[in-house]
């Protein structure tokens, strides 16, 4: 299976994530779509890792570790993000991002 295939698959997933970010107004769903984007990246990273491993690079495992770190960061982000969303919900009783436009111009 060519790497190209994985590239296009990840890009497709990535763009679906972007699309979701653009189309949805629910902050949580947007956040989920961002997670989808990150996972697309992860997938691509793993396929490149495999690619370079095939090419005989010894340190190809570092890409998998990178994925690991992305997961770590994603977890941290989720913690903060959900806290923020909860805080906003507490104050506005909504997670619709369009309700928030006090700050403009």
């Amino acid at each position: 299976m060519p790497v190209q295939y994985y590239i296009f698959l990840s890009i497709a997933l990535f763009c679906i994530g972007v699309m979701g970010v653009l189309m949805r107004r629910n902050a949580i769903i947007i956040f989920m779509c961002i997670e989808l984007m990150l996972n697309a990246v992860n997938l691509l990273m793993v396929s490149f890792s495999k690619m370079w491993a095939d090419a005989g690079r010894v340190d190809a495992g570092s890409a998998q570790l990178f994925v690991f770190f992305i997961m770590v960061v994603a977890a941290a982000e989720v913690a903060v993000g959900l806290a923020i969303i909860t805080m906003v919900y507490r104050n506005t009783h909504s997670v619709d991002i369009n309700i928030l436009n006090r700050l403009k111009n």
Partner: protein, 156 residues
């Protein structure tokens, strides 16, 4: 191949489903398909971690928050549809542009040979030898996330 199709369809499901809970479930399906890919590419450890962290922890957290906020019903009003279409179109355009950009890249095919880099032992060696600094540094990240959760979540 099948996995890929399922991944794409369920990803679209995340974006398009009206019910947030359905979205969450679709996302979980996507995660599983991605994990399948990991296994296909000999990244066994990652596949496991992926299932545990994403499908297990993170998505449950999402689901929990959704339930907590009682957002399982569709709440988004249907006004300003053009933004949706514009979003879809521009997302599609981004896809087209990226594909066009990467079309010419001549890449090797992945061999079906199993490699052992994805084994937990090898990864552990790299992590604690070469990647010890980021490992330590990520603790700062967690600390700040922790403080953040406290600062923001704590009632006054």
């Amino acid at each position: 191949m099948v996995l890929s199709v399922v991944a794409l369809v369920s990803a679209l499901g995340v974006v398009l489903s009206k019910n947030p809970v359905t979205s969450v479930l679709c996302l979980i399906v996507t995660f599983f398909t991605i994990a399948g890919h990991y296994i296909m590419m000999n990244a066994q450890f990652l596949a496991v971690v992926h299932i545990i962290v994403y499908a297990g922890a993170i998505m449950v957290l999402f689901l929990y928050v959704l339930m907590l906020m009682n957002l399982n019903a569709e709440l988004e009003p249907q006004k300003r549809n053009w933004l949706k279409y514009a979003g879809a179109i521009s997302g599609g355009a981004l896809l087209v542009v990226l594909v066009a950009a990467l079309r010419d890249a001549s890449m090797p095919a992945l061999s079906t040979n199993a490699t052992d880099i994805g084994l937990i032992k090898n990864l552990g060696m790299i992590l604690f030898k070469q990647y010890v600094v980021p490992f330590e540094v990520s603790s700062i990240l967690f600390l700040s996330a922790m403080i953040g959760a406290v600062v923001i979540g704590k009632k006054e």
